[in-house]
Symmetry: C2
Subunit: 318 residues, 2 copies
């Protein structure tokens, strides 16, 4: 077992195995977790975190891969976190990712990680931010977080990005789906991918219409742009990068970047604290204290609320 | 606003509006919640709680209604809690319940309640046990808890019953579905409903086979029976009641009933405690303490774990 500080040093030198090891340590809540987090803290805060979300089939992985290529041309170090909560047994999406991402497999300036774990400790909402911290501390200039835009926890992960990109494709009824999933509220940049297909203009128009409906923007406010791409051929990808850079500049100018990062940090602390408390309470299972309370409830001597109070009091003493 | 003790008295007299009011108070986490729970505690522990679960279409509501009729013939007071987590907008299932349950609408010995709320406080896992307590304290001899056997939280609710009934119907591929959903581990009694249809015997055989596969029972162990019913015509329902009574007698003889109720009470306390702690942490949002921690994290001066420790310390002082 290597010590944490040498792992961190190697990760900053761009050694992929050191990055992988650090992510495994934070994901798995290893005994060294706290040491790792403490070592990373002063090294974080430099990466620009971009979330990419959209329904299956819109071309998220292809778009992510094309963005990696574009950022690499600028000489930037790029981290990719592909969050797919679907069962590891279904596997299809992950396999697809790996195939497309293999373009970058030999590039030391790119680090790619898939996360498919769910229901593990606090779940993805808990582990994704920790993995982002590792990639940030390892010196990534840009971190692309790719999520399937369906569940609540995926939307939460998207909200942890500095900038959120929502992807759509023509002819998938995405407009309505987007509205349903509340995706119209989270996008800073919208991409209509597969723009060489029929219906791309209609999708962009519909999206533009829906965005203008929900709108009550002031003069300095951000108006999410809609960019058309054919990611598989790299078309429109530079325009996406440009839109991202504009959004970043706008956020810096208006203090929004700092605001978002503060909100993210608050959220992170809260999730860790709730997970820790939940685990402490879980540890009391089989403990004499909880059984004694349960016995008194069954006997009708105590109601569950009084019992919960007493359990919480017990935590304070522990 | 009536006072809590008179509501409880009226509920015990079988007044449905008092029962409804008490359930609303506990569901909605009203200010009187703790007073209600304290008043109910000494009155609970008498009801026999039966969970009914199964995929949509197996005839859960019809079976529940038929069981109500059977228990009413024995002169027992019956409570029904129909837990349907599907959106209130879909409505179909609930409407169906109401129609079938209307047979019992004018019977003062029956109380029927639908719960369709989800994501509210601790969700169904939180509110269903409280509603069961109200029905128990109101003097119900039997409480039938009907859930859709799909999600994790529905399985959890089923686990709060003294006896769990799993319903299947022929020709729905239920066998495989049941195995998938882990339903084969939770059933104390299995019912193959719609037994007048083709394939009922095959379904019962397949189920019997699957149950024997997973089996490593000792001589005194409970062997879940399989009962065939045509609930819509009341056929086989007395046999279900008989199987339930046998299971109850077996549980009492072997100390299993007390064990299950203790486990249920522990689970209940734990859920309430975690919900309370989560809310207390949530209350700190916008609080100076959490913002100060978040600022130090963004500045790289503190890692989120140290911050969470400090947040938990803060809770202890509050």
């Amino acid at each position: 077992m290597q010590d944490v500080s040498s792992l961190v040093t190697q990760a900053r030198e761009g050694r992929p195995r050191a990055v992988a090891r650090l992510i495994s340590l934070v994901e798995g809540a290893a005994p060294q977790l706290r040491e790792v987090m403490a070592a990373l803290a002063p090294l974080t805060g430099n990466a620009y975190v971009v979330g990419l979300t959209g329904s299956p089939g819109v071309g998220k992985s292809t778009s992510t891969s094309a963005l990696v290529t574009a950022y690499r041309r600028q000489g930037k170090r790029v981290g990719v976190l592909a969050v797919d909560p679907s069962s590891p047994f279904s596997g299809g999406a992950l396999l697809g990712d790996r195939v497309r991402m293999s373009d970058h497999a030999s590039d030391p300036g790119v680090y790619i990680r898939s996360m498919a774990t769910r229901g593990h400790l606090g779940g993805l909402a808990w582990s994704a931010p920790q993995a982002i911290r590792v990639l940030d501390a390892a010196g990534c200039d840009v971190i692309l977080v790719e999520t399937v835009g369906v569940g609540q926890s995926e939307v939460e992960i998207a909200s942890q990005a500095d900038t959120s990109v929502v992807l759509l494709a023509p002819g998938m009824g995405d407009g309505i789906q987007a509205a349903k999933a509340g995706i119209l509220e989270i996008g800073d940049v919208y991409v209509v991918n597969k723009a060489d297909r029929d219906g791309a203009d209609a999708t962009a128009r519909e999206l533009n219409h829906m965005l203008s409906l929900g709108e009550s923007r002031g003069p300095g406010d951000w108006r999410p742009p809609i960019v058309k791409t054919v990611a598989a051929r790299g078309e429109g990808v530079d325009e996406v990068v440009e839109a991202l850079e504009k959004h970043r500049a706008w956020m810096e100018e208006h203090g929004v970047l700092a605001e978002r990062r503060l909100a993210r940090a608050s959220q992170e602390v809260e999730t860790i604290a709730v997970t820790a408390l939940r685990r402490r309470i879980g540890d009391l299972h089989g403990d004499r204290r909880l059984s004694a309370l349960a016995e008194r409830i069954v006997a009708g001597e105590l109601d569950p609320y009084e019992a919960a109070d007493s359990l919480i009091e017990g935590l304070k003493e522990s």
